[in-house]
């Protein structure tokens, strides 16, 4: 069931304002002509260039070394090449047979800005930035009323304009990677729950995919479908909560309560399925912990039947809201170039026009057996990230429905002596299973020597898991390269030059969760 077109596009009335330059009128400022950083000269530079506001260990502002000749990002490179490459990539995805029904039609109706246009827009919105001015330092300290975890950003403000940002993370560092080295692969799974604690299963799943790749283990089809279903439920929960938090950051707490109310339906499903609302620990090496319980399918179908309608209603409220449009349009533009440079993936990258979704590009679990579209928008601002996430909610419901419809029979956990935990019922009755259980719990699985890296599409972006094994049952090195770590690092590039009130909106739109960031 695809929503009608009018829900994909903002109303015409709002689109008419799209062509005009972003709001520069209310910014009444006195400056002499000499010190104005004119946007004309900056049209081809982005936030990475220019001398840093402060240096000497006070903040990370990257210096651009002389770029080697022929580099992809040298200013001398023909932008048309970059644009053409991206347009080709976007077209390839839009027309691929993954099912691009409404997608191609919907986006053809709206003009897609080129990379140059986006960069010019960005330069205009950040045109008030002056580097060498008197600044007031304000700390957006580790305690936030707006629920982004314990992230600290020291802002240098010149009036309303943010001149520099120095982020500080680490308040939630729990040493997950060190802990992983002392635990068997099975014991690491509950640790991964606490990474992005808002989508616990997605983290479990990512780790299990990496471990199974290392062991060369095949997961049975039923387990793959259940994993896909659960990951998409995680994505639903995450995006619905994101919507509530984002709108709450912009002003109203009503939406937050409403969205959390709807998230409760998904969390109830998780409780039914895994026994826990947030820290699922449901994936196992080789499958999942349990099969779908009785009544789960019926309840799940009820939820995914009514949730898209609810979300469509919220989307309609927010998308056509004039105030939201003014606060989110052309705010926080982060072009695809910036996204590559700062390793920003997930919805912000897709909002910049790059149709990169690991579920399609490097499929895992049952994603190559289900039919869905990649949500792509082209304006790379907060508004488009919102649209992308709303579309992803709809697509998640589609995927879940397909998983439920096509759920193959079979085992939910691979019966592999050397790699998987046996089903508990068998352990108490079958001696082979008892031996397997003993072996797996005390020694861990049989893993070949080697290293592997596997990235999956977590709700917040690409989560990569690197595992190096020396043949023991515990890994020698595990590295989680989580999306929020890089998104938190990209905050200066995202926000410098914008106004203070936009900082909260932009920060919310890149979806940083400190569990993910600090590990």
């Amino acid at each position: 069931m695809s929503a009608p077109h009018d829900l994909h596009e903002p109303s015409e009335r709002l689109l008419r304002h799209d062509a005009s330059p972003p709001e520069g009128d209310g910014r009444v400022r006195e400056k002499d002509a000499g010190s104005v950083r004119s946007s004309a000269t900056d049209a081809t530079e982005d936030a990475l260039s220019g001398p840093p506001a402060r240096s000497g260990g006070r903040g990370f502002v990257p210096q651009r070394p002389p770029t080697p000749p022929g580099s992809l990002f040298a200013p001398g490179v023909d932008p048309d090449v970059v644009v053409a490459a991206e347009a080709h990539a976007a077209e390839a995805h839009a027309t691929q047979a993954h099912g691009g029904e409404a997608h191609a039609g919907g986006t053809a109706a709206r003009p897609r800005p080129t990379l140059e246009e986006l960069k010019a827009r960005k330069a205009r919105t950040r045109g008030l930035l002056e580097r060498n001015v008197d600044v007031m330092t304000v700390s957006m300290g580790p305690q936030h009323p707006s629920m982004h975890g314990v992230y600290r950003a020291e802002l240098d403000l010149d009036g309303e304009v943010i001149v520099a940002v120095r982020p500080e993370i680490g308040n939630l560092h729990r040493g997950v990677e060190k802990l992983c080295e002392q635990r068997t692969y099975h014991q690491i799974i509950p640790l991964t729950d606490r990474l992005d604690y808002l989508s616990g299963f997605a983290m479990n799943h990512g780790f299990c995919e990496a471990a199974e790749k290392l062991m060369g283990l095949e997961v049975p089809p039923r387990a793959r479908h259940i994993r896909t279903l659960s990951s998409e439920l995680c994505r639903l929960a995450n995006h619905i909560m994101w919507l509530g938090v984002h709108i709450m950051d912009l002003g109203t707490q009503t939406f937050f309560s409403i969205c959390f109310r709807d998230r409760e339906y998904v969390l109830d499903l998780f409780e039914m399925l895994t026994g826990a609302r947030l820290t699922h620990s449901f994936a196992r090496i080789g499958g999942v912990a349990k099969d779908l319980p009785d009544g789960f399918e019926e309840r799940c179908r009820k939820v995914i039947d009514f949730l898209p309608k609810r979300v469509a209603e919220y989307e309609r409220i927010v998308k056509h809201n004039r105030i939201y449009y003014k606060r989110a349009k052309n705010v926080g533009i982060f072009t695809s170039e910036d996204c590559y440079a700062w390793r920003v993936t997930g919805p912000p990258l897709r909002a910049a026009g790059i149709a990169r979704d690991l579920r399609k590009d490097e499929p895992y679990a049952a994603y190559d057996e289900v039919d869905f579209e990649v949500a792509v928008e082209y304006n790379a601002d907060v508004y488009d990230r919102f649209l992308v996430r709303m579309k992803e909610i709809r697509e998640s419901c589609k995927i879940i429905r397909q998983c439920l419809d096509n759920l193959p029979p079979g085992p939910f956990l691979s019966r592999d002596m050397g790699h998987t935990l046996p089903v508990k019922r068998d352990v108490l009755q079958d001696s082979a299973a008892m031996i397997q259980d003993f072996y797996q719990v005390f020694r861990g699985p049989q893993v070949p020597k080697g290293e592997v890296y596997r990235a999956t599409e977590a709700p917040k972006g690409e989560m990569g898991v690197y595992i190096r094994s020396e043949g023991a049952g515990t890994p020698a090195r595990v590295r989680f390269s989580t999306p929020s770590f890089y998104h938190g690092q990209a905050v200066p590039a995202l926000v410098e030059g914008e106004m203070v009130a936009d900082m909260v909106a932009i920060f919310a739109s890149v979806d940083v969760v400190l569990g993910d960031c600090d590990r």
């Binding site: 009128d25 209310g26 304000v138 109203t252 309560s257 409403i258 109310r261 606060r327 009130a501 909260v504």
Partner: protein, 341 residues
């Protein structure tokens, strides 16, 4: 009992009764805000204290009184302590000139005339605008005296916002004044005699709308509450206030809300007049109360539904949209009134 003594007694009674009633009402308005917020969000709001949680405000007062009084070390103590009162007393003072029932006419109480207004003041509208301006001081001084970066920033932003929107408010009110021919609130209400289609909200629809929106900015409520937005960096000018001092600011905000609702009802919706003359037998104060409740609900509805504007967008709305509209309203009203003789 001679008339001056009776009038004096009535005055004392009114002067004591009105503030007490308003303050008690405000306690329940705070409760209603939280209840409505809950209902709008699919929750239930306070339910614990009292029937349906109605005594929540009193519980909050007791809690706030029992908190430690924290004053910043280098704050200007006198100003810091006076600021909440400067924020609320001026607007509260406007109650003195608002009529809540018929004024003038023959004896109606124990053989003496009981006027339903504390002070029949000939420059009531001027007092309204002046007091609105004074209350800005409370906010700005709170921010400044806290000796903190954030508070200063918040206080200045709030102050600038309130001043900008007061202009639009002032000009819209002048439209009403032109129609009534007097700055006295009593005359303004008397000029809206008759049924509800003769009230000023129809001819002054533009002015009324501008006044309503500008008053939301005066009250520092969403969508114009950037100065005290919790989700922005800090709590603005209220950052350093805790315990009962903060309670006083919170209280002041709701007193302002109640008084501004009363003012809106008086200026545009007939004050204590019944919507249909056949319903005149219901006393004036009841009608004013009902209209106040309606506006209070409207302010709350707006607050819990709309997201807030960014500061530059807020200022541009105040100066570039509301002010020209109210001026246009004023010009048109002046022309029409003078043409009508």
């Amino acid at each position: 009992m001679s008339d001056p003594v009776a009038q004096l007694i009535f005055l004392i009674v009114k002067a004591i009764l009105m503030p007490v009633l308003i303050i008690t009402f405000v306690a329940f308005v705070i409760y209603f805000e939280r209840k409505f917020a809950g209902f709008f969000a699919g929750r239930v709001g306070p339910t614990y204290l009292g029937p349906w949680g109605s005594l929540q405000s009193f519980g909050d007062i007791i809690k706030l009184l029992s908190k430690e009084d924290v004053t910043p070390l280098r704050a200007d103590k006198l100003v810091f302590k006076m600021a909440p009162y400067i924020a609320f007393i001026p607007v509260f003072a406007v109650i003195a000139v608002l009529p809540f029932g018929p004024v003038g006419g023959g004896p109606n109480l124990f053989g003496h005339r009981f006027d339903y207004v504390i002070a029949n003041f000939d420059a009531g509208v001027v007092l309204l605008l002046a007091m609105g301006a004074l209350s800005v001081y409370g906010v700005v001084l709170a921010g400044w005296s806290s000796n903190s970066n954030y508070s200063l920033l918040g206080g200045l932003r709030a102050g600038a916002q309130m001043i900008s929107y007061e202009l639009a408010m002032g000009f819209s009110v002048v439209g009403v004044v032109l129609m009534a021919g007097s700055l006295n609130f009593v005359d303004i209400v008397n000029g809206q005699a008759g049924n509800f289609w003769e009230w000023y909200f129809i001819p002054q629809v533009v002015g009324g709308l501008v006044f309503f929106i500008a008053s939301i900015a005066e009250l520092n409520r969403t969508p114009f509450d950037l100065a005290e937005a919790e989700q922005e960096l800090v709590a603005g000018h209220l950052t350093e206030y805790s315990g009962m001092r903060w309670g006083m600011f919170y209280f002041a905000e709701y007193v302002n809300l109640v008084v501004i609702s009363a003012i809106v009802s008086t200026l545009y919706f007939g004050g204590w007049r019944a919507p249909l003359t056949v319903l005149d037998f219901i006393p004036g104060p009841i009608w004013l109360f009902l209209k106040m409740i309606a506006f209070i609900f409207l302010y709350m509805w707006v607050r819990w539904t709309i997201i807030r504007y960014r500061y530059n967008q807020l200022m541009s709305i105040g100066w570039k949209v509301l002010l020209p509209l109210s001026l246009a309203n004023l010009v048109v009203t002046a022309i029409v009134v003078s043409l009508q003789g």
